[in-house]
């Protein structure tokens, strides 16, 4: 089970409290986790990454295990601790603006 932490605005949009838990088939990558997240919550499509290109939105960042994974290729496997559910995968709204 993959644990995903969403920023507050996306939790409100998806109408969830706390962490989201997802089953991800096959290799656990940023792309497969986001695919599973958007399949469960279609309202999140386009809010984290571009609908068509899949490119991360500029002010959204990805973290796990105290690492910034924002610039990792989408197909890169996530750390084992994320794949095993020990550590959450964090989707974060960048601190910017006022």
């Amino acid at each position: 089970m993959i644990r995903v932490v969403l920023p507050a605005h996306l939790r409100a949009l998806a109408q969830v409290d706390g962490e989201v838990q997802l089953e991800v088939a096959g290799q656990v990558t940023q792309c497969s986790v986001l695919d599973a997240l958007e399949a469960r919550y279609p309202v999140l499509r386009g809010t984290i990454r571009d609908h068509r290109s899949g490119q991360r939105r500029a002010f959204v960042r990805f973290f796990a295990c105290q690492q910034d994974l924002s610039h990792e290729p989408p197909g890169t496997p996530l750390p084992d601790a994320v794949a095993s559910g020990t550590e959450p995968y964090l989707i974060v709204g960048a601190m910017a603006g006022g």
Binding site: H9, R57, A94
Partner: protein
Amino acid sequence: MSGVRVLVGTRKGAFVLSSDGKREKWDVSGPHFAGWEIYHVKGSPADPDRLYASQTSGWFGQVIQRSDDGGATWAPVGNEFSYDGTPGTHQWYDGTPHPWEFARVWHLEPSPGDPDTVYAGVEDAGLFRSTDGGQSWHELPGLRGHGSGPSWQPGAGGMCLHTIILDGPARIYAAISAAGAFRSDDAGQTWRPVNHGLHSEGIPDPAAEVGHCVHRIAMHPSRPSVLYMQKHWDVMRSDDAGESWREVSGDLPTDFGFPIDVHAHEPETVYVVPITSDSHHFPPEGKLRVYRSRTGGDEWEPLTKGLPQEHCYVNVLRDAMAVDSLEDCGIYFGTTGGQVYASADAGDTWEPVVRDLPAVLSVEVQTLP
């Protein structure tokens, strides 16, 4: 008794202000979508319970919300706005080519006859339409592709399509900052600029087809060939469906401003909110004054009763004024200071409905049976 529902979009959420036909006591609901920028909320003329809202965020992009119960509950619908074909380029601020990139929906215009049909004006400038209640959106590419698109440049607020006027089954007007006004006579298939007579400082060619910073256009449905325009500078009027424009700024204290609207029952009665200048986005002398012309322009009178007449330095944005269609026409506008003012007597007197909302981006009103 009939009533009104005022739909307010702000920097930090949407608010719905409701009153009966007297427009004296108000119920306020909101914030809806708290923390998000709500560029526009508008109701369907065909079904007053059907509302659409543009919810945007620099972080999380675009969401379109729909209500089927007059704003009591909302549900997100489609948010994919993909330009038709290869988007191409427009000009960037420095004159270099810049790829067309979707940023947000500025304006939603529901069809007069079908609650499931709604148009969206977006940044970077394009016109989209949904015929399934907002679930899916398709560009009307003839506007962006009519020929001048590669020469369009953004205004300071972005290259937004902010005005959509639906005039019958075939005619559509659209206005873009800073490209100008455009008209389609075939339901959006093909377009042409309608900017003859506009003169803008900084455009050396007096016959320039595009490049004008149109802030807002208004039309009275009983006289669709008459259009009123608040341009960056200049209040303009066309009597031939945009074929030509003439200035009607007349005796206004300044002809810079953003909104313009027309009385619901008097097509020659027009409202603007003069703003000091393009570098001073606040009212002259710190006095918030709506100006009304009962002569279709040129002659204007200040409307001040109930509006702050000292130390007022707010702005009124282009989509932040609306009129209801009750017998005594109501006028509404919102400010960047978070006030929404209402007049139940066509502008003679004003009362604040709310004083402390986030900065107001848009105001629309529904007249309810």
